[in-house]
Structures are given as C-alpha cells and as structure tokens.
Amino acid sequence: MNHRTSTLFALFIAALWAWWELDLKFVDLFPTKGGAQIARDFFSAAWRPAIDYQSEFVPQGAPPFLWIVLQGMLRTIYFATAAMTLAVVVGVPLSALGSRLVPSWVRIPVRILVGGMRSVHELLWAIFFLAAIGFNSGAAVIALAIPYAGTLAKIGAEMLDETSDRAYHAMRGLGTGKLMAFIAGLLPQATPDLAGYAFYRFECAIRSSAVLGFFGYETAGYYLKSSFENLHYQEVWTWLYAFVLLVLFLEAWSGQLRRRFVA
C-alpha cells in the first residue's frame, strides 16, 4: 500500500469512526411525517419558481417581487464587493510581507497574524461585531473582509514565492529600492494568478454575504429565510435560481478573462 492509498484509507477510517461517534443512521435521512410534507412541498415547488409574491396579502404599492429579488441580489453583490475591496487592500500587502522576499523576522509574525485572521470564520467575526458594536452593515463587511484578507494573503504569498524573481533581482541590481522592484518586477508577473484567485474568492464572498442575511442584514439570505419560514417555497426557489444564474454568469466571465490572460 503506497503513501497515497494509506492516506486515503486513514481518511475513510476516520470518517467511519465519526459516523459511529455521531450515531448516524440512514433511516434518519427519510424525514418523519411533518418533515416529509415540507420536503414534498418544497421540492415540488422547484419547477415553478415564483415570479410574483406568493402571499395573498401584498400591501398596496409594494414593488414587484422580481424587483425585490434584483435589489436583494444587488445588495448581496455590494456587500461582497466592499468586503473584497478591503480584503485585497489588506491582503495583497500582507501576502508580500509573508513571502520569501522579506526577512524571517517580518515573515513569521505576518504568517501568524494571517493564520489568526483565517482561523475564525467570517460569521463568527460577524456575530462578534454584532455583540461589540451592534447592528451595522459596515461592521458586517469588515467581518467578511478579515478572513478573506487572511486567505488572500496566504495564497498570495504562495503565488509570489512561485513567481520568477529574475526581473526583481535584476532591478535590485540596478539599485532599485525593494518596494519599487516588487511593484514593477514581481507583482505584474503574479497579477494574472492573483486576479484569478481573487475572482474566485469574490464568488465565495457573494455566498458569504448572502448568508449574512440570516443575521438580519438585507442580503439574499434575509429574504430567502423569511420566504421559507412563511412556507412560500416558490419564492425560495426564485432566490436559489437567481443565485445559480449569478454564479453561472461569474463563471463565464472568469473563464473569458482567464483565456485572455493566458493567451
């Protein structure tokens, strides 16, 4: 048994142990009476996503349902964009400070900081801020940005380490300062990879900001939750499909970008 197989084997032994520890039974996958009804109603609504409010009591002058969906999706994107902006502004310098270009007395503390930022989930940061300063969209964005900046810094440092540093050292040899040699010699070469990764993380940030809605912020999750709790399953499916469309769109876009960067 080679190394890989044994690793895989170990993972599955661990999973079996976890299965036993959690006392899982396949039977529980089949919902009980009440749950079964919900499941039936929910999945049968998949084929007919709502294009208008499902509720009969729509207040006069309420905007059309699809308009609400659009607004909710846009707000989700705004949260994600704001968080990614902060994450890039903080994460890219941190990735440079965590790369092999800097002496180890800078690099190691930076890597520890980055590890700390990453190790706490964005939703935990969010409820921390909720407890500390109360309900505020800016604080929610910062909560998203912290682990995202950390992840970007970690992956970014790895990418910078893998980038050819010939031009960087050549510029240093001409007497160029470290910062300028980094900006002109190393960063441009790492940019396609960094941008591609940031784009992927943007997609993740959109998911995370949607989930923020479960904590009261008016992103997609907020509406999805209330629709579900009001048993308006067709509305729920509209939100789910809107999400899939957005991800499909982003995917097509990033595919095009990658093709042009590489070519």
Partner: protein, 301 residues
C-alpha cells in the same frame, strides 16, 4: 511624421483586449456604486454610541464572569477548563465528526461523478482519437449528459452550505444530518468540478491506447483515468476538508449541536466571555485541521 506623433500612434495602436478593458470598467463601476452608495454604512461605526458599546464590550463583557464576581478565588485554568468540559469538548468533537463524514461523502460522490463532467471524455469522439466516430445512438447524448452534470454541479456549489443546512433542518429535524448533507452537497459540487478538470488535463496517452484496443469508456475510466487522476484529487480533497472544518463550526448556529450552537447560545445569553473562549477553541481546531491537511498534502505531492 514627427517622433511625437509616431509615438502617439504606436500607443494608440497597441494591442489590447477589449474584453479586459470592459472588465476593468465594469469593476470600476461596481466599486463606485458600492462605495458611493448607501447600502454599506461605514461612517456610523464610529458614532459615539457604538464606540461606547465597543469599549464596554472589550472592558467588561469579555473579561471572565467569575473574575468579575469574585476576583480573589479566580483561576484562568479552572475557568477555561470548565467551559471546555461544559460544551467545548463536545462541540469540537461533533464539529470534527461532521466535517469528516461530510468530506468522505462529498469525496466519494464527487469522484464518481467527475468523469461524467469531463468534456473531452463525454464526447462522441472521446479524446479526439479521430479513429472512428462512434455511431451508437446513445453516444449522441453524452455531451448533453455532460452539460447536465456540470449544471448540476454548479447548482450544488452555488448555494451556500448554510442555506442548504437551513433548508434540510426543516425537513429532517435536529441532528447531524442536515449539516452533513449541506456540506456534502456543496463540496461534492466543487470536488466534482475539480475532478472533472483534473481528468480533462490528464495526459491522454495511456487512455488513448486503451481506446484503440477497443475498450469502452467505463473500462477506460476504471482502469486508467481513476488511477491517474487520484493523486491530484486527494490534494483537493484535503484542501476542501479544511473548509469543511471551518464551515461545520458555524453550521451549529442554525441549531445543530456543533461548536457554533454553543457559540450562538453564549451570544444569546450575552455571556460574551464564554463565547470568546469557544471561538478560540474553534480557531485552534481550524488551525490544527490546516496543519494536518498541509502536512498530508506535502507528503503526497
């Protein structure tokens, strides 16, 4: 033509991609709308009232409750140990177990679905052998099946784990299954896609040879593709496991008894000191997971 004119003309005629320029403009527009708009409110973070809250939170709420009550007989070790015994250890164990079962399920499903999503394989003329085009009727359907599988994978991963868990919780009731299903579905979508890309990028020589010997697609997959693609797939598997640990923690917040449940419970009871310690427990678990996964990936590579 003066040199200056020539230079401008060279500049104007420089090769550039319209798509990248359009993307830059779109990005700029998005940034402008986001930061100039009113959806995100940064200014009021620094309002005096919020600053007061923050101060109180940091000074009082975060310091251990027994320390506030009875400073003389307080011991940090006992306090942390009591939180560990009360909910910490159980929560961590459940979190870890959920992540392990989920990644195993996601890994298995992702892997066996992966060949169905590989475009060069699910083709009437697999790997473009151009030896003979298969004329069997069912092979006409293959590209369609492939597109369908890819769409399904996108659907699985487009929906956040948290939303999946929320939906399943209502149907399945309390227990670990909603969290496991949520993580497994989301990650199977991602792993299936990564696996398909791995297969597409494989060196096709040996598979080509098998096809020429008259092997069927399923035979080639079983004998050649799986063996070749597995090493890379294991890397992805462990990388996703890291994320699973992270997500399993917070999925507790919707009512599954992982660590997140107790974190949210402490928040609702406004025992922020306890919440901080539990979050730190979670962070240690995540860091340990990262470390294990890092070591494993290094040893495999």
């Amino acid at each position: 033509m003066t040199p200056a004119q020539r230079e401008r003309e060279l500049y104007r005629n420089r090769s550039r991609s319209r798509f990248i320029r359009a993307s830059n403009w779109a990005l700029g527009g998005l940034l402008a709308v986001t930061w100039a708009g009113e959806t995100i409110d940064f200014r009021s973070i620094f309002s005096p009232q919020r600053m007061n809250n923050l101060q109180r939170f940091l000074r009082e709420d975060l310091s251990p409750w027994p320390l506030r009550q009875n400073p003389e007989s307080f011991s940090w070790g006992d306090w942390i140990l009591s939180i560990w015994n009360q909910h910490g250890a159980d929560g961590l164990l459940l979190t870890l177990c959920i992540s392990l079962v989920s990644i195993a399920l996601a890994g298995v499903f992702g892997w066996f679905v992966a060949p169905l999503g590989a475009r060069n394989f699910m083709h009437q003329d697999p790997l473009h052998r151009t030896l003979q085009v298969e004329t069997k009727n069912e092979s006409v359907l293959l590209p369609w099946i492939c597109q369908g599988v890819r769409l399904l994978q996108i659907f699985m991963r487009a929906i956040p784990e948290y939303v999946w868990a929320f939906l399943f919780l209502a149907m399945l009731g309390l227990g670990a299954w909603p969290a496991i299903l949520a993580l497994a579905i989301h990650n199977a979508g991602i792993l299936g896609r990564l696996g398909a890309e791995t297969i597409e990028n494989l060196d096709s020589k040996s598979s080509r040879g098998l096809f020429q010997l008259g092997a069927s697609r399923s035979q080639v997959v079983a004998s050649s593709i799986f063996a070749q693609g597995l090493p890379r797939y294991i890397l992805f598997l462990f990388y996703r496991w890291e994320t699973c640990v992270r997500e399993a923690t917070v999925l507790g917040m919707i009512g599954i008894l992982s660590l997140g449940y107790w974190i949210d419970d402490a928040r609702v009871r406004q025992h922020y000191d306890e919440m901080l310690v539990l979050v730190l427990f979670g962070a240690i678990l995540v860091l340990l997971g990262d470390l294990i996964s890092h070591q494993v990936r290094k040893s495999i590579r």
